[in-house]
Assembly symmetry: C3
Homo-oligomer: 350 residues x 3
Amino acid sequence: MAPIDADAGYALADLAARSGADLHGDGRVRVTRVATLERAGPGSIAFLANPKYAAMLDATRASAVIVTPEDAGRTALPKLVTPTPYLAFARIAAVLHPSASPAPGIHPTAVVDAGATVANGVSIGPHATIGAGTALAEGATIGAGCAIGRDVRIGARSRLDANVVVYDGCAIGADAIVYAGAVIGADGFGLAEDGGRWLRVPQVGRVVVGDRVEIGANTTVDRGAIDDTVIGDDVKLDNQVHIAHNCTIGEGTAIAGCVGIAGSTRIGKRCRIGGAAMISGHLSIPDGTTLGGAAVVMSTIREPGAYSGSWPVQKYQDWRRSAARLRQLDRLAERVAALERTWRARESGG
Amino acid sequence: MAPIDADAGYALADLAARSGADLHGDGRVRVTRVATLERAGPGSIAFLANPKYAAMLDATRASAVIVTPEDAGRTALPKLVTPTPYLAFARIAAVLHPSASPAPGIHPTAVVDAGATVANGVSIGPHATIGAGTALAEGATIGAGCAIGRDVRIGARSRLDANVVVYDGCAIGADAIVYAGAVIGADGFGLAEDGGRWLRVPQVGRVVVGDRVEIGANTTVDRGAIDDTVIGDDVKLDNQVHIAHNCTIGEGTAIAGCVGIAGSTRIGKRCRIGGAAMISGHLSIPDGTTLGGAAVVMSTIREPGAYSGSWPVQKYQDWRRSAARLRQLDRLAERVAALERTWRARESGG
Amino acid sequence: MAPIDADAGYALADLAARSGADLHGDGRVRVTRVATLERAGPGSIAFLANPKYAAMLDATRASAVIVTPEDAGRTALPKLVTPTPYLAFARIAAVLHPSASPAPGIHPTAVVDAGATVANGVSIGPHATIGAGTALAEGATIGAGCAIGRDVRIGARSRLDANVVVYDGCAIGADAIVYAGAVIGADGFGLAEDGGRWLRVPQVGRVVVGDRVEIGANTTVDRGAIDDTVIGDDVKLDNQVHIAHNCTIGEGTAIAGCVGIAGSTRIGKRCRIGGAAMISGHLSIPDGTTLGGAAVVMSTIREPGAYSGSWPVQKYQDWRRSAARLRQLDRLAERVAALERTWRARESGG
């Protein structure tokens, strides 16, 4: 299944084998890159997953396409046919556009403590700092400007992009990706009242991150107050997510951008949390829950399912009226109840 | 129009010429700095744009003021008169408080790949990293700790503040400002389901940023999945904004802090997006739209105009009641309809 | 009150004295660490503040516990008794888990301008940059990769973690903590319209941060446009908070994660702002106000108290119905009013 000529990309038949899709048409067509149907040119492969864009098949200049069995008849182009075109596309994109790994080695400007352990094949970028007692497993990549504290564990083949910070004692599993600017293990927001002043509560737990986790750019995950904050295997966090101390995020859960989760909340496995959702502390969300974008969760959800909650955007003047009415909603409900009572009294009395 | 004596600031007549405002009163008054009406002292110039603060004109200790023709009669101070005092103030502030540019040159601690191209007048700060194939145009400034990947383009006179990260292949136009901690070009949140697990979808597009764009501190703009994420000329993004993969932001649009925009959404030109607004993916917003703070947009907006949508804050107990009533709103509407039907039946039948 | 044997932690009697709690039981018990009731083992001390978890007292393997007088009778373990167990716990945790201070000194890779002033006992980490005119007071700690501009003041014993950015001219008080990735003093979002284009308005104010302030990871505080942005003493900001230009945050106010506050807003003293609350610009909130999570504040709050406002999350189908009804709420209210009028006409006429 090696490419016949790497410079000229891959034969379509080869990509069929690598993606698990069925080949229809000329398998010798050479493919060098992925593209959208709209902007594809010769040498590129595009996919159609949503039938509403099927018209684009006619005009595309792609050399090959990936389609469902239902759509296969709509184009005469060489094609890969599969019930899951997006998945096949993802596999093919990984073949055509492999991520460039930096060469192993420690950049001379990096500051690596003598008490750190650096396995084979590790790459440490310029101006990175690695603390004492920290262990970087085989093939890990530490980006430029990363600051990794003491006694940290970074798993095999995990990649930390530029300017990531990992505080003392935290652990990240294997094959994880942490994007630039993320901060893992800062203190949780723990405050005790002490005679009208705030007393800081030491945060002695860690952050423990599983395998194959992705943590988005500028996302923050706080260390636990006493026990650990735990991010399960295969969890995917988008950018600018905030996970507070002692949260537990179950395996395979995906959390979109700008989500905030307050302390000690437990999110189940395989949940999908929409962007900008905000989840209060000390509550739980069951496995398999879907939460709509910008939804605000204030108490435990007991039944899995799809949940939403946000004001539907309106023209400004309409919103002003809706908002005014909302403030009077309790009174309106009472007025309706009064009408019902009056009516019933009249009916029974009259 | 050069200052008579730079040490003593500028003559008011000079500032009138530089700002396009009319001079009323003694043009020889020296002005060294801007101030608010409330806190101004001798040597400072303040402005009044909002008539509700007109009473402050009486008490101000400013040496000169900028006012509208309508307000000109309210003060005997030397003044600049213009229909747009805030604009004149902005121009004068730029004269009185020019931003300090670092001296050109590459700091000895910076790591600049031999394959990078550095034009004349470029400044590269301490501990910055510049990758192979990257080109920094004339007069660009790269702050301390920035990590600029490979094959990046930074336009003339653009300024990246400290600890900015730009991923491989991204392009930033001329005269742009990127504030500290911003991350440009991290992977979009692209996941395909593969037998119950998430498979990462390579993100092969770039981020392309126009001229005169500002990108706020800790803001993130993700690279496109296939095509590019595009930030048009003159777009202004405040802090902690998140722009997901394949968004297009039209020219001149201003987006306030904490806004999140999900993938593949198209924002028109000259829009104004209020702080903390959250915009779903795969939708579009027309040119010239104004969106209120914290509004949540879940579907395409077809007509330009002003839109809002958020729960108006209430006293906690009132909110509890409103929220409970909201959950029963569908039932309430049915009860009203039942009353109407009963009434009509009675009227027609009785 | 020194520990009898530091290697074996502290005697419970010693911890009683240090925390101000009453000792019940054997004061010679050795305690080495804090733990939760659930996961405690020998040598650890746990606390019970919420009676709903009292059942855990029976099963805990802790060597000692901290309880209220009301709960003291529920366990035979050696214990510390106090009306404020969480506060005593915080004090004891600080004794058992002191934060590790880095050794004083300037790391050889740090770039410290010759015009900076560095007091005794200051620690400057690898790859940090300190600008001209900046003064670091006694015992201050500057983390790896921090970029501190010119003419900055950092107070005694204050700690900036890795990759913090402080812009020119800003001031931070004593005993403050700034977590990784925070950005203090970037320009505010100041734009004036100039013939259809945005003209940038120079931001000439500073950020002034008080004593004992905490600023969370990746939080941003913008410099003032003309006057300063002011963060009062004992203010606590969680992660990913955004404070816009010219805000004033009163002493002792605590602001949870993901909160955004637009420009020129004044937050009173000792307020508690829930996570993800969004507060508009140019308004004020009185001392002692509590704001619920995700609440949106669009106008000044005049009366202290507890405020909330967010859509209560619902099952998706229920939300769809509620949202549709909300859009018709104005019409529904008119229909109720019409029913009332008709009824009254009938009653009076009939």
